[in-house]
Amino acid sequence: MTAPITISLEVNGERVDTSVLPRLNLADFLREYLKLTGTHVGCEHGVCGACTVRVDGEIVRACLMLAVQADNASVETIEGLSDSGEIADLQAAFRDRNALQCGFCTPGMLMAAQDLLKQTSAPDREQIREHLSGNYCRCTGYQAIVDAVESTARARAGRTA
């Protein structure tokens, strides 16, 4: 049973059929097998949030999920969200507000921020901080990141009103 296990999943809308060793986590699978290197690997024990991806529409820690557990799942990475244009405004706000800094935490921050904005149309700063509290920024760019999420929320509310 230590042998590779066959999995079939959808990643950013494309079907992937392959086999992987049980110990391979989803973050490494995305990076090393599929070359989707936007998903970052930081702490590898679920603290830093740099590996945040969507599985079946919900954000998860890709370092705390085995690739074999993603069998039959739909996975969306930062590449998927970026290419589809879903978060173009959020990415622009990160640039405008100087929320990028070194960029290592950015993919996870964007995944978590978009998750909040999908659930809550007008989050206040405290709600934004709480929702992003599982994502570390080692440049400590938190003020600017919260600014970017807040201004995106406002812009989206204005657009849909």
């Binding site: 110990r23 590898e44 679920g46």
Partner: protein, 293 residues
């Protein structure tokens, strides 16, 4: 760090999972949400030879209410508890507690069964189970066992579960009409494990506690149902009654020392939580103000 190599089996039913566990014993680990198991494996704190993935077992998922009992399947996730109307109506303490558990991405995967079987003494749900007088339902080769939450937790990461058994559900009595609850924890950062926490469930009649269950966590090797609550039930709570309860609490605690707090600090914080819970549950702010004069 990465987990060391292991074999993986996807259980197809509870019976199948029990067969796999019977074969492997303590060389196997059960994987549900993986939010505690995977960090432990990635840090090489544990290296099971076999991981039995029960994530696909729909029979272990869901929340049901029947004849005054709320049954929560082991695979019910934190986010499900947070969003459930049954939990909000019949065990609101749990919904409150879950907001303190880690972060959204963790709450989307972590399960109630995983949390209870993992039995971290600083985690929220074990203390809630003790406060809510839960029954832990376990299946093994010999059939089903029902274990009171107070007997289930036996030490740091230790429970009454044998390696051949699977935690399948928890049963909670539906919260009575006049009941009220309090949940708070002190943590370095919201979402971190508690330095000291309290999950309290109370029944209040005419301004007095008819029942009060205080589940303290991170003050010992397992969740503690505080005997000090006895000092507060069926009496008019005054500042001196509360002081007696605080002393009784300090006497029964035996907190551990770690990098976060000394035993003295934990005792103090536990007393602060007791005073705060009593004053909030009875809606009497003056009690909290007077407790530490």
């Amino acid at each position: 760090m990465k987990a060391s190599a292991f074999a993986y089996a996807r259980a197809t039913s509870v019976e199948n999972a029990l067969e796999l566990l019977a074969d492997q014993g303590d060389r196997a680990k059960v994987l549900s949400g993986g939010q505690s198991l995977m960090p432990a494996m990635n840090l090489r704190l544990i290296s099971p030879e076999l991981v039995v993935d029960i994530g696909g077992l729909a029979e272990l998922r869901g929340i049901a209410v029947k004849e005054g009992i709320l049954t929560i399947g082991a695979l019910t996730r934190y986010v499900d508890l947070l969003k459930s109307t049954e939990i909000a109506a019949h065990a609101p303490l749990l919904a409150d507690a879950v907001t303190h558990v880690a972060h959204p991405a963790i709450r989307n995967r972590g399960t109630i069964g995983g949390s209870l079987a993992h039995a971290d003494p600083a985690s929220e749900l074990p203390a809630c189970m003790v406060a809510l007088a839960a029954t832990i339902v376990v299946r093994g080769p010999g059939g089903e066992r029902r274990i009171a939450a107070r007997e289930f937790f036996t030490g740091i990461y230790e429970t009454a579960l044998s390696p051949q058994e699977l935690l399948v559900a928890v049963d909670l009595p539906v919260a009575p009409r006049q009941s009220s609850h309090f949940f708070h924890e002190f943590a370095r950062r919201h979402g971190d494990y508690a330095i000291v926490g309290l999950a309290a469930q109370a029944v209040i009649n005419d301004g007095r506690f008819a029942d009060l269950r205080l589940g303290f966590f991170a003050v010992g090797d397992r969740p503690l149902l505080a005997g000090a609550a006895g000092k507060l039930v069926n009496v008019a709570v005054t500042s001196s009654v509360l002081s007696e309860a605080l002393s009784a609490l300090a006497d029964e605690l035996d907190p551990q020392e770690d990098h976060q707090a000394t035993p003295a600090m934990r005792r103090h914080l536990a007393k602060v939580l007791l005073a705060r819970s009593v004053s909030e549950l009875l809606s009497r702010p003056e009690l909290h103000a007077g407790a530490f004069v």
